[in-house]
């Protein structure tokens, strides 16, 4: 390749405490090309890019800009090297206009908005942006805001642009518009790095793809010489055997039937559409998917925390065979209906537990209302806390330690322990082993298996495909808020799941056989 290297990373390593986010990563981005960084969640894409843009500083390794070694210790340094990053979450002042946001924080030169506006218009004309510099941010759509962010970076003279999942928030039409702009920038000799996990976009847009997996650099390929299946394989890696026990489901009966569920999030974006599936007693139903594909909303909709636009959620009470529709019910109403639903949410300390309360008080969260007394009954929760500490070997100084002081694994044991202690008939767990070491992970897997054998319907949202394949009886794949497939956990392969996960919205005309 005759192109010159714009930025080179050499043996970059970054750790956060015990977690290795990037290990020995070396990669190069050339002038006048679009490079995609591809990887699953937690593969270290964003961390790596944050090091280039000066938000983090690498523990080891070098960054070379135009062949010269660069020390990038702050976003300001990054701009010195003409590197600009467009973050997933926009950093704009709502009450300012586009132009005001774009010039904000530039210290050199005089503050002359008129001059700046004409300069902004120049940039827009050059690359084909559709932007009114005098429009206020709060009146803008998501795509317009993104345009402001990109122009902001260009205005500061960036030659190397990093975009963190730029298409996640856009409609298909807006995506095409963005791609056209990015191509024009490539022609102008800029080098563009986009972080993504959507394979079809990678194939369509980029010249080269660099793949990361679990913090390590797997390799780079030219897009023209690769295929989606090769990329999937690079992304998910070889199958690792975890040796989790998996018994055959005993006498599975329908426990939860979700039909044509549709939800809209707070921003008014549709997060779930046409979701239908059944969870059965005595089996573990896995849910796989790229993070943010609607998993959280799905579980929260079932738990009564997410507003439902249309569709039904029917719970079949195993004792009475009465069908309860959980639609438009609050968590309390759901409990009062006799629905034995336990839920381990993704956000352990922000939702499942109260970080500043001690273990006993966290045990009471579900049961504190019991009894007629006006006062709290702390004896039972305390016994339960002691039992969980003992049974799950939680490492803690005692029951009166605030849970925030415990380690991630112990926090999760407390939360899962509490939810299981409520003897559920339907147990939903979201990313229960995220951030946990191997032993704690096995403790959690065993607990889930135990519940399954007791005839509980378990819904397990996971990100580690190996674990999903070894633990679950059936795996449902969710992509962009739709179900892209339901497969048998005993025969599924990682590649199969990977393809379903990255299936784009248009093709996902449901292959629903569950």
């Amino acid at each position: 390749m005759a192109k010159s290297a714009a930025i080179e990373l050499k043996n970059i390593t970054k750790t956060f405490g015990k977690v290795v986010a990037n290990k020995n990563v070396s990669l190069t981005a050339y002038r006048g090309e679009i490079l995609s960084i591809l990887g699953e969640n937690g593969s270290g894409k964003t961390t790596l890019m944050n090091m280039i843009s000066g938000i983090y500083f690498p523990d080891e390794g070098q960054i070379l800009v135009d062949g010269q070694e660069a020390v990038i210790a702050s976003p300001k340094d990054a701009f010195k090297y003409k590197i600009g990053m467009i973050h997933q979450h926009f950093k704009l002042v709502d009450v300012f206009t586009a132009a005001e946001n774009i010039v904000l924080g530039i210290e050199e030169g005089k503050y002359n908005l008129k001059e700046s506006i004409s300069k902004i218009r120049e940039i827009c004309d050059k690359y084909g942006f559709d932007l009114d510099p005098e429009k206020k941010i709060y009146t803008m759509s998501v795509s317009e805001k993104q345009t402001v962010e990109i122009v902001k970076v260009l205005y500061r003279g960036a030659d190397i642009l990093i975009l963190d999942e730029p298409t996640a928030v856009l409609t298909p039409q807006e995506i095409q518009k963005l791609f056209a702009v990015l191509r024009r920038m490539r022609e102008a000799g800029k080098s563009i790095i986009i972080i993504t996990h959507k394979l079809n976009e990678v194939m369509e847009l980029s010249d080269r793809v660099a793949v990361l997996r679990k913090g390590e650099y797997i390799g780079s390929v030219n897009t023209a010489e690769t295929s989606e299946s090769q990329l999937t394989e690079m992304m998910v890696g070889e199958k690792i055997s975890l040796n989790i026990n998996r018994s055959e489901p005993k006498d599975p009966k329908d426990r939860l039937i979700v039909e044509n569920l549709e939800c809209v999030n707070r921003m008014g974006v549709k997060v779930l559409s046409n979701v239908s599936f059944t969870a059965k007693s005595g089996e573990i139903l896995g849910i796989a998917g790229i993070a943010g594909s609607g998993q959280r909303e799905l579980l929260e909709a079932i738990a009564g925390l997410q507003k439902i636009n249309s569709g039904d959620i029917n719970y079949i009470n195993p004792k009475t065979d009465v069908v309860e529709n959980l639609k438009d019910k609050t968590p309390r109403q759901i409990r009062d209906l006799g629905v034995r639903l336990s839920f381990v949410p993704e956000d352990r300390l922000g939702m499942g537990l109260v970080a500043n309360m001690d273990i006993t008080d966290n045990m009471m969260l579900r049961s504190y209302k019991k009894g007629k007394s006006f006062l709290l009954q702390r004896k039972e929760p305390k016994n339960l806390a002691e039992k969980i500490i003992e049974d799950l070997s939680v490492v803690t100084p005692g029951v009166s330690t605030p849970v925030r002081q415990l380690s991630g694994g112990n926090i999760q044991k407390i939360l899962v322990g509490r939810e299981i202690a409520a003897s559920p008939k339907l147990l939903m767990v979201a990313y229960p082993v995220r951030g946990l070491d191997i032993n704690s992970s096995y403790t959690i897997f065993n607990l889930l298996n135990e519940q399954k054998e007791r005839g509980v319907a378990v819904i397990f949202v996971g990100e580690d495909l190996d674990a999903l394949i070894e633990l679950c009886d059936r795996i449902m794949v969710i992509g962009s808020g739709r179900i892209t497939g339901i497969v048998d956990g005993r025969t599924a392969t990682k590649e199969e799941l990977g393809v379903l996960m990255t299936k784009s919205v248009n093709e996902s005309e449901v292959s629903n056989n569950g």
Binding site: N11, F57, P58, E60, G61, Q62, E69, V71, A73, A303, G304, L305, T330, P331, R332, I334, R335, F343, P345, D347, G350, M351, G352, L353, V354, A355, N356, M357, D361, M364, L365, R366, Y368, K369, S373, F374, L375, L376, P402, R404, Q405
Partner: protein, 371 residues
């Protein structure tokens, strides 16, 4: 690679802060007590510098400002001190339930004034109509209701429209003040003042007009402590305050908790207003609460939202206020001096929390050699 490592070390600052979770409760209290003592002596030294008096005479003046001449058999000043402490304490425990759910009730002033006005109206309008026990009951209930209404209005708006409770409660103070002003205008007959009313005063027990106030407030303090720590309501308040997400997750109705707790908070403020009007002044003016509703916010924070600790904190704040006012008075200092003195001590007490939460770690010298 080694070069970059050096560059990084150059960037390491002289010291950095480490959060700590492991401080023993007694060590934390030792630091707090030390901060109070340092603040107290700092005030004394500043007083010495300003007045050229000796340390012992400053302390003596302060003592006399608070307790009067007990040695000469007069306990009047001392009871006035207890009374002022009780009112501040009552307002402090009133705002605390709201604060614990992170609802910043800055309207204790207005809620107390509303309660006081309700008591005043009952005393004037019903004083000669109802028998004394019934009159007392009506006074107490109406002031509770008035305070609760004043407190619940911002809560309803917060629950329904997510308005900012700080501004809302603050503005409600001005409304209450203006209503009292208007009442003074129609009842005061030109003087805009109401002479002390003899009817409907709280009973005097043990020959002491303040004793009942103090007892009522102490009982309320204990009740609020129990309510927050041991009741189901108190538990819900804590969960809502710590994380509304968790509250929703376990099925707590957050709006209901907002409204219920603000009714309680306003009602307690209303009682404070009633104690001021029916139990102390027997009259009302726009300055009856006198800014104590705002001081109460500070006391609640200083007491770490623990009503029992607030007993000490309100006693301390009133002590400094009265004491330094006396110093200012007897040495012809500006009357703002008392506020300055209280400010100094509070600054130290609040500031010491920093050392309880963080540890300062200095750059180790080994790396210095390396650079």
């Amino acid at each position: 690679m080694a070069e970059i490592k050096d560059k990084k070390h150059k960037r390491e600052p002289l010291f950095h802060l480490v959060k700590r979770d492991d401080m023993k409760w007694w060590a934390a209290w030792l630091i707090r007590i030390a901060a109070i003592l340092i603040g107290f002596f700092l005030v004394c030294f500043i007083s010495m510098a300003l007045t050229k008096e000796s340390l012992s005479s400053i302390i003596e003046t302060m003592y006399r400002g608070v307790f009067g001449r007990i040695e000469m058999g007069s306990t009047k000043m001392m009871w006035r001190y207890f009374q002022k402490t009780a009112i501040l304490l009552c307002l402090s425990i009133a705002v605390t339930p709201a604060f614990k759910m992170k609802f910043w009730n800055c309207g204790a002033e207005g809620q107390a004034l509303a309660g006081g006005l309700a008591a005043m109206i009952c005393m004037i309008e019903l004083g000669n109509v109802l028998p004394y026990p019934l009159l007392l009951l009506v006074i107490v209930l109406s002031s509770i209701v008035a305070g609760a209404v004043w407190g619940v209005i911002p809560a309803i708006f917060k629950a329904q429209y997510n308005t900012n409770e700080t501004l809302f409660t603050l503005m409600m103070n001005y409304v209450a003040t203006q209503i009292v002003k208007y009442y003074l205008y129609i009842k005061g007959g030109g003087s805009n003042k109401i002479n002390p009313v003899a009817e409907g005063n709280l009973p005097v027990i043990a020959n002491n007009e303040y004793m009942l106030n103090v007892i009522i407030v102490l009982v309320l303090t204990l009740l609020v402590f129990i309510y927050l720590k041991y009741s189901k309501h108190g538990y819900e308040i804590s969960v809502v305050g710590e994380s509304q997400n968790t509250a929703r997750y376990i099925g707590i109705n957050v709006k209901k908790v907002f409204i219920r707790t603000m009714i309680l908070s306003g009602a307690l403020c209303g009682i404070a207003g009633m104690l001021l009007v029916a139990g102390t002044d027997h009259s009302i003016d726009t300055n009856t609460v006198g800014g104590q509703g705002f001081t109460a916010i500070m006391v609640s924070w200083l007491g770490q939202f623990n009503p029992l600790v607030m007993i000490i904190m309100s006693a301390l704040v009133v002590f400094l206020n009265l004491g330094s006012a006396k110093v200012a008075d007897s040495c012809y200092l500006n009357s703002s001096y008392a506020d300055i003195a209280v400010g100094i001590v509070i600054l130290l007490v609040v500031g010491c929390e920093f050392f309880i939460r963080y540890q300062i770690k200095f750059r180790s010298t080994k790396k210095e050699v390396h650079v």
